[in-house]
């Protein structure tokens, strides 16, 4: 099939702008740690999302507002999984001010 010049340019443009999957970790060591912790504790993205929701609810129960992105990162250390949760919060009383 004959292509015109415009089509060729568009193909090249798409090739270089193709959406790429973000790597789960930068170094091989971090990636291995993540992979092993997911496997050892049977964690998946769905479970992490649910965990995140519960943590936000828990913060609410204890009088905190979540004021930023909640991140939960499982890490593996010598066959033990450590779940690191980062929750930026502010006391509700301060939020009202």
């Amino acid at each position: 099939m004959k292509r015109n010049r415009g089509e060729t340019e568009l193909t090249l443009f798409n090739m270089f702008n193709k959406e790429r999957e973000e790597p789960t970790a930068v170094t091989a060591d971090d990636r291995l740690s993540l992979v092993l912790s997911y496997q050892r504790s049977d964690i998946d993205e769905k479970k992490l999302k649910l965990f995140q929701t519960k943590l936000i609810e828990l913060c609410d129960d204890f009088g905190y507002d979540v004021v930023g992105q909640v991140t939960i990162v499982p890490q593996s250390k010598e066959r033990t999984t450590i779940i690191n949760a980062s929750i930026p919060v502010r006391p509700k009383s301060m939020s009202k001010d």
Binding site: T27, A28, D29, R31, L32, S33, V35, L36, Q39, R40, S76, E78, R79
Partner: protein, 266 residues
């Protein structure tokens, strides 16, 4: 029963990491040290150990024949001509793993304990029936791992399965290490693999082109005096035998360390 008899399963989870190469060379190394050694190939349908040892033309009976009573155990063992203390119990090539059970393998291995000091059981890849057969009779296990994420992840799963089968003595062999890639950060270091898996390190084997030649010629790489991998396998055999052997220096390092490596004293 031999007082010292020990059955060791060599396993990995992932295929192609060098299990059979390890079994052949370490088995030969133990025989060179004066131990009576039997290598049991449990990869039924896909046997390899016979090729690794150059014994493929001498197989008459196999492990399935023994289990089915077609042959006696002694008839089925193939003795190495150069090292008569080394014997192979081959796997059947035209049968399936499902045709034997863990208890049948256990029975065969228990029979072998009467005659051999070391029984090295070569496990098939995977974690299905063949793996369960291979671990049924083992007193301990050696996990062969390549320093790459898919291999380490599979090994981590295998450790869990071995522990749940009450096999607590698990040793690690990191195979196909390329120090230059580790140095550049392109390969996981032995320390990182060991720390993540948290099991005892038994050996570190460098990547070695001579292994390909050895598997094609049927002469285990441990017999190749010029091979670093061969030296590493020899050290593993000595450690299994109870010797305290330092690990090979794999880094390029100084001129002295290179000379030491040349003469196999490192």
């Amino acid at each position: 029963m031999s007082q010292r008899s020990v059955a060791i399963t060599i396993t990995s989870g992932k295929g192609g990491v060098g299990k059979s190469t390890t079994v052949a060379s370490v088995g030969l190394g133990l025989a060179q040290l004066g131990h009576r050694v039997c290598l049991v190939d449990t990869d039924i349908g896909l046997r390899k150990l016979d090729l690794m040892l150059g014994l493929e033309n001498r197989i008459v009976y196999d492990i399935v024949d023994v289990i089915e009573g077609v042959s006696k155990l002694r008839q089925s063992l193939v003795r190495h001509k150069e090292f008569p203390d080394l014997a192979l119990l081959p796997a059947a090539q035209t049968r399936y793993k499902e045709e034997v059970s863990p208890s049948q393998i256990k029975q065969v291995v228990n029979e072998l304990r009467k005659e051999f000091d070391f029984i090295l059981i070569d496990s098939p890849a995977g974690i299905e029936g063949g793996f369960r057969n291979a671990i049924a009779a083992a007193d301990r296990a050696i996990l062969v791992v390549n320093p790459e994420i898919p291999s380490v992840r599979d090994s981590d799963r295998v450790i869990g399965l071995l522990e749940s089968a009450n096999l607590d003595q698990i040793d690690l062999v990191v195979n196909r290490v390329q120090p230059d890639m580790v140095k550049d950060g392109d390969m996981l270091s032995v320390d990182r693999v060991k720390n993540h898996l948290a099991i005892n390190l038994l050996g570190v084997v460098p990547e070695d082109r001579r292994i390909i030649r050895s598997s094609n010629t049927g002469e285990p790489v441990i017999l190749d005096g010029k091979s670093y991998a061969g030296k590493a396998f020899s050290n593993i055999a000595r450690r299994l035998s109870g010797e305290d052997v330092p690990f090979l220096e794999l880094e390029e390092g100084t001129l002295i360390s290179r000379i030491k490596r040349l003469f196999h004293i490192a």
